[in-house]
C-alpha cells in the first residue's frame, strides 16, 4: 500500500489555491521504547503515528498544515490550508524565496536491517534490559537503568516538481547506566555511551554492544568515582574519547554549519552561527587533521537516509577539509539565498512538522593514530570519556562539556581516575589545537537533537575517534 495519491492530492490542492511550489509527506511511524531499572521493566510504550504534512510556498514564506487523516479529501483540505497560511505571511513580507534546482526523482529506498527490531519478541527485549540492570546492581551499583528505542518509519514524498519517493527507515539502539550515590553527589557510568548507542540499523546493533557483559564494569567504575580525586583545574593537554568527541562535533561544528542558522533564520531560539559565508572556502576552522564530512550515505549511522525530506539524494560532501571550512548543511531555499548550488540536509521529525535544515551524519574522517599511541605520546594531560553534560552559546563558539570519567595521563600512561571532569573553550581555537587523531572511528548516534519551533527532535550520526587537544582549560566547577 502506498500513499502517493494522498500526498499528490495535497500538493495539487496547494497549487490550485495559489502556491508556486508545494510538497507533501505522508509518514507512518511505529515507535517502541522500553526502560528498566534495578532488574525490573519500568515502562514500555508502543506508539503509532500516521499523517500528512503539506508545505506550500507563497511569496517569501512557507505555509504548512498537517492532518492525521489519510484520505484524499483531508489531504486536499490540508493543501488549501497550507497555501492560505503562507498567504497570510504577506503581512510581514521579505524577498521571494527561491529554490535551487532539483531533478525530479522517482525512487524507493530501504535502510539496511539484518534483524527487524520490532520483530524481536518483547519478552526477549525486556529480559535483556532486566539482566543488564541486574548485572549492574549485582556489581555494586546503587541504581541501574537501561533502555532501548526503536523507530520504524515509512514515508511517501511528492513534490510539485515531479518527485515521487518512498522510503522505509529502521533505527534502533540501547544503553545501560550504573549509578553510585555518595554524600551529596551521584556518579554514573554509561555503556556504550550517554543515553545509549543508536543507528539506522536493525537489532543486530543492540546485540553487538553487549549491555549485560559491560554493565558490571560500569557499576564498579561509578562506585570508584565516588572516591576518586576531583579533576584538577587549569590548562592542560586533553585527550577525548570518541563518544565525547562525537558530541563536540555535533555542538561546535554540526550546528555551526547549519545554513539556516548562518542566515539568521533560527536567531530567536536555536541561535545563529559564528561562521560568515564570505569566508566559506578560506576560513581556518581547525588543524590540518580536521576533515569533517556531511555524509547521509554513511552505512548504519543514525543520520542516514536515501533522500532528504525535499527529495535530494544522499550525497557525501566536505564541511571542513584539512582544517578549512568549505561546506554547509543546506536546504533548497537557504542554498538559493546563499548562492550555493547544493542542498540535501532538510528533514522533519514527523508528518506534523515543517521540514528544516538538520544535521545528517556529520563526522571526522579517521586520523593516522590510535588511542594507545596518543596516550603514549602525552607526558602530562587528562583523558575524558563519555558525555555527561553539554552547553554552548547561541553562536556555537563558547562551550563547556562534562564527562562521566577522567584519568590522569602521566609520562605516556593512564594514571588515577578523576571525578567530575569538565573542559571549556572556544570552538575554532579548540579545533586548531587538535594535534593527534585516532583511526578508531565509530559512528555515534544522537537521537535527541532539538531544534525548531514548534520543537523537533532530530536523529543525527557522528563518526568520530579519540583525539588530542592542547592547552585546554579543564576542571571548571561551581
Amino acid at each position: 500500500m502506498t500513499h502517493f495519491d494522498e500526498a499528490g492530492a495535497a500538493v495539487q490542492a496547494a497549487l490550485d489555491a495559489g502556491a508556486r511550489y508545494a510538497d507533501a509527506r505522508v509518514m507512518v511511524r511505529r515507535t517502541e521504547v522500553m526502560s528498566a531499572r534495578d532488574g525490573a521493566v519500568e515502562d514500555l510504550s508502543s506508539d503509532e503515528s500516521a499523517g500528512l504534512g503539506v508545505r506550500a510556498l507563497v511569496g517569501s514564506s512557507w505555509g504548512f498544515f498537517a492532518v492525521p487523516e489519510l484520505s484524499e479529501s483531508s489531504a486536499r483540505t490540508a493543501g488549501r490550508r497550507a497555501t492560505q497560511i503562507a498567504a497570510a505571511s504577506a503581512a510581514v513580507p521579505g524577498p521571494p524565496i527561491e529554490l535551487v534546482g532539483a531533478t525530479a526523482v522517482t525512487a524507493s529506498w530501504t535502510s539496511d536491517c539484518v534483524i527487524d527490531p520490532l520483530g524481536v519478541p518483547l519478552s526477549d527485549k525486556g529480559d535483556l534490559l532486566v539482566r543488564a540492570t541486574a548485572a549492574a546492581t549485582g556489581a555494586g551499583a546503587d541504581m541501574a537503568e537501561a533502555n532501548y528505542a526503536i523507530w520504524d518509519t515509512r514515508k511517501w514524498f511528492v513534490s510539485s516538481e515531479g518527485h515521487r519517493i518512498d522510503q522505509h527507515i529502521r533505527e534502533c539502539g540501547a544503553g545501560v547506566t550504573a549509578m553510585a550515590f555518595g554524600d551529596g553527589e551521584i556518579q554514573r557510568r554509561s555503556w556504550p555511551s550517554h543515553r545509549g548507542q543508536f543507528g539506522t540499523r536493525g537489532w543486530e546493533l543492540v546485540e553487538e554492544i553487549d549491555l549485560v557483559g559491560n554493565a558490571p564494569r560500569m557499576a564498579q567504575e561509578a562506585r570508584a568515582l565516588l572516591t576518586a580525586p576531583l579533576c584538577p583545574s587549569g590548562e592542560t593537554t586533553l585527550v577525548l574519547g570518541g563518544e565525547q568527541l562525537a558530541l563536540q562535533i555535533h555542538e561546535s561544528v554540526g550546528h555551526a554549519i547549519e545554513l539556516d542558522r548562518i542566515l539568521g533564520w533560527e536567531a530567536a531560539f536555536a541561535g545563529t552561527s559564528w561562521l560568515d559565508l564570505s569566508r566559506l572556502g578560506s576560513l581556518r576552522y581547525g588543524s590540518e587533521l580536521m576533515n569533517i564530512t556531511i555524509d547521509p550515505s554513511f552505512p548504519g549511522a543514525l543520520g542516514s537516509f536515501g533522500f532528504d525530506d525535499e527529495g535530494t539524494p544522499a550525497t557525501k560532501r566536505y564541511a571542513v577539509r584539512e582544517g578549512i571550512w568549505e561546506g554547509v548543511l543546506a536546504g533548497r531555499d537557504s542554498a538559493a539565498l546563499a548562492g550555493l548550488d547544493y542542498a540535501g540536509s532538510v528533514r522533519s521529525d514527523g508528518w506534523a512538522r515543517l521540514p528544516m535544515v538538520r544535521m545528517t551524519n556529520v563526522g571526522l574522517e579517521p586520523g593516522p593514530h590510535t588511542l594507545d599511541e596518543i596516550i603514549a605520546a602525552t607526558d602530562d594531560g587528562v583523558f575524558m570519556d563519555i558525555n555527561r553534560s553539554w552547553s554552548i552559546d547561541d553562536r556555537r563558539l563558547n562551550f563547556q562539556f562534562g564527562c562521566e570519567v577522567g584519568y590522569e595521563i602521566k609520562n605516556g600512561r593512564l594514571g588515577r581516575m578523576l571525578r567530575n571532569p569538565t573542559y571549556t573553550g572556544i570552538g575554532p581555537k579548540f579545533w586548531q589545537s587538535m594535534d593527534m587523531l585516532s583511526n578508531e572511528t565509530v559512528a555515534w548516534g544522537t537521537p535527541n537533537c532539538g531544534k525548531g519551533q514548534p520543537g523537533q527532535i532530530g536523529h543525527t550520526g557522528h563518526p568520530a575517534a579519540p583525539a588530542r587537544f592542547t592547552d585546554v582549560r579543564v576542571g571548571v566547577r561551581g
Binding site: 503581512a91 519478552s123 530567536a268
Partner: protein
C-alpha cells in the same frame, strides 16, 4: 460533551470486550490545535499549523503493564490499538509496581467550558492573519532593527476514562509571543504568555526588545568571579524550569537524586513557589487525577514534590496530579510553576529594564543585570549545579545605576544554593507569565536580586 470523551469511553468498552473484565485500563484522548507564525530577518518565513487527535492507552493485564498510542482514531484504528496493546501486555515482563487506577473523582478546577475561567474561544480560533498582525506590530515597533521570533496559539481538548469509572474532560488554551531585536551584534528579548491572545501587545514587546538591543551594544568583557546579580523574569524562568525538572520531580526525589527535603528551610524565607495549572493547563493529568494548586515551597521551606500514582506509591504519598506520558520514565514534574512576587515598588529606570526589576537594580552597589539564560545543563543533579550562558543582554550595575553593557558570560552555579537562606536580596513586584523555550510548560517568574552568582567564563573562554 467534547468529541474526545466518547472516544475514550469507546476505548474502555473495547478493552473490556477484548481483554476481559479484570483488565485495568487508562485512556487519554487529546485533540491539539497548534499554530505558530515564525519570523526572522524581520519577515515571516515559517507559518505552520496542525490539528491532531491522539489516543493513549495504558493497560494492566494479568500483572503486566504496557502503554501504546495512535493517531489513527477511526473504529478500525481504535480496535487495532487495543488489540496491539493486549498482545504487547501478554508478553511484557511482570509489573510489580502497578499502582492501580484512580476511582471516580470530581475535578477541582474548571473543566474549561465555554466562558469558564481559563478558556478563551477567540484565542482557540485565532487565524494566521491575527498572528501575523501581532508579528507586524512587533517588527514595526523595533523601528528598523532586525527581528526574529514567533507568535503561537495552542488549544487542547482532552478526555480521560478508565475501567474504574473515572471519566473527565477539559480544555485549555494559551497564546505566546517570543521575539528578539538585533543591532550591531547585540540582541534584546521580550516574551509573554497569556490565556488570551488579546493580552499580547506586539508593539510593546517589540519596543522593549529593541530598547534592550540598543542598550546592549559595544559590551565590555568582565573577568570570571562571583557577582551579585539582578535576574529579569526571563532568566528566572530558567531557574524554575530546572527546579521543576530535577528538584520537585517526585521520581528524582524517590531515587535520592533531588535536593528537595520537605520540611527543611532550603530557600530564602522570601521564596514561595506554587504549581498552578489554572489558566492554561488541563484540570486533570494522564492518570485522571484532578489537578489543583500545589505549594512546593512556602516562605523558604520545601513543602512538597510532585507525584504521579507510581511515584506516590513508592514514596508513601498520594498523586498530586502530575502524570504525563513520560512520567514513568522521566518522573512527574510540575509544568506551571509560579514564584510569588515581592512587594510592588515603582522606581524610575531605563526603558530596557523590566519595570519590576528596576527597584532591585537600584539597590545593587556592584553587580550584573541579566536578561536571559541559554543552554543551561545540569552538571550535578543532586546539588543542581548548572552551567549555561547569558543571552539577550547583560549590564554592569554600579551604585544602583546601569553603567555599561557586558558581553555574554558562562556561569556554573547551584540553583538551590543561589536561592538559599539569606541569598535572595529582593523579589520583583510582578510574576510574569512566560512560555517555556522548548515545550508547553509555562512559568510565572518575578525578577530576583541574588547575593551571588558564579561567573566561570566570558567571550574569551
Amino acid at each position: 460533551m467534547s468529541a474526545e470523551l466518547p472516544i475514550a469511553a469507546r476505548m474502555v468498552e473495547l478493552v473490556r470486550a477484548l481483554a476481559g473484565p479484570d483488565a485495568e485500563a487508562e485512556v487519554v484522548v487529546r485533540h491539539d490545535t497548534e499554530a505558530l507564525t515564525r519570523f526572522a530577518t524581520s519577515m515571516i518565513h515559517q507559518n505552520v499549523a496542525e490539528a491532531t487527535t491522539g489516543v493513549r492507552l495504558r493497560l494492566h493485564l494479568d500483572g503486566r503493564t504496557t502503554g501504546a498510542s495512535s493517531t489513527v482514531t477511526g473504529p478500525d484504528g481504535l480496535r487495532a490499538l487495543v488489540e496491539r496493546t493486549i498482545a504487547a501486555a501478554r508478553v511484557s515482563p511482570p509489573d510489580a509496581a502497578w499502582p492501580g487506577l484512580i476511582p471516580p473523582a470530581a475535578l477541582h478546577l474548571s473543566s474549561g467550558g465555554l466562558g469558564a475561567d481559563g478558556f478563551d474561544e477567540a484565542t482557540a480560533r485565532a487565524t494566521p492573519e491575527q498572528r501575523a498582525a501581532l508579528v507586524r506590530d512587533f517588527v514595526r515597533a523595533a523601528d528598523g532593527l532586525e527581528t526574529a521570533g514567533y507568535c503561537r496559539t495552542v488549544a487542547v481538548s482532552a478526555a480521560f476514562a478508565n475501567t474504574a469509572g473515572q471519566a473527565v474532560e477539559g480544555r485549555a488554551v494559551e497564546a505566546a509571543f517570543d521575539g528578539i531585536a538585533r543591532l550591531d551584534g547585540a540582541d534584546g528579548v521580550a516574551r509573554l504568555a497569556s490565556p488570551r491572545l488579546a493580552d499580547l501587545d506586539g508593539a510593546a514587546l517589540g519596543a522593549r526588545a529593541a530598547a534592550k538591543a540598543r542598550a546592549a551594544r559595544q559590551p565590555v568583557e568582565l573577568p570570571p568571579g562571583h557577582y551579585e546579580v539582578v535576574l529579569e523574569p526571563d532568566a528566572v524562568s530558567d531557574l524554575l524550569d530546572n527546579l521543576a525538572m530535577f528538584g520537585f520531580n517526585g521520581r528524582a526525589f524517590a531515587q535520592r537524586q533531588s535536593f528537595a527535603e520537605p520540611g527543611v528551610p532550603q530557600f530564602d524565607p522570601s521564596v514561595t513557589i506554587v504549581d498552578d495549572p489554572r489558566g492554561s493547563g488541563l484540570p486533570f493529568d494522564d492518570e485522571g487525577t484532578p489537578r489543583q494548586q500545589l505549594v512546593l515551597v512556602r516562605e523558604g521551606v520545601t513543602t512538597a514534590v510532585t507525584h504521579d500514582r507510581l511515584s506516590a506509591a513508592q514514596a508513601g504519598g498520594v498523586s498530586t496530579g502530575h502524570a504525563s506520558p513520560s512520567s514513568r520514565s522521566w518522573g512527574p514534574m510540575p509544568a506551571h510553576l509560579r514564584m510569588e512576587p515581592g512587594p510592588a515598588v515603582v522606581t524610575d529606570g531605563p526603558d530596557f529594564v523590566v519595570s519590576s526589576a528596576r527597584p532591585l537594580v537600584a539597590g545593587v552597589r556592584r553587580g550584573l543585570l541579566v536578561s536571559d539564560f541559554w543552554y543551561t545543563r545540569v552538571l550535578d543533579q543532586k546539588s543542581l549545579v548548572v552551567t549555561g550562558l547569558t543571552r539577550n543582554g547583560v549590564w554592569l550595575i554600579e551604585d544602583g545605576e546601569i553603567t555599561a553593557p557586558v558581553g555574554n558570560v558562562r556561569f556554573t552555579q547551584s540553583y538551590p544554593q543561589a536561592l538559599g537562606p539569606g541569598r535572595v536580596l529582593g523579589i520583583g513586584g510582578e510574576s510574569v507569565l512566560l512560555p517555556q523555550a522548548w515545550g508547553r510548560a509555562r512559568w510565572a517568574a518575578p525578577a530576583l536580586r541574588l547575593s551571588e552568582w558564579n561567573i566561570t567564563g566570558n567571550a574569551s573562554g
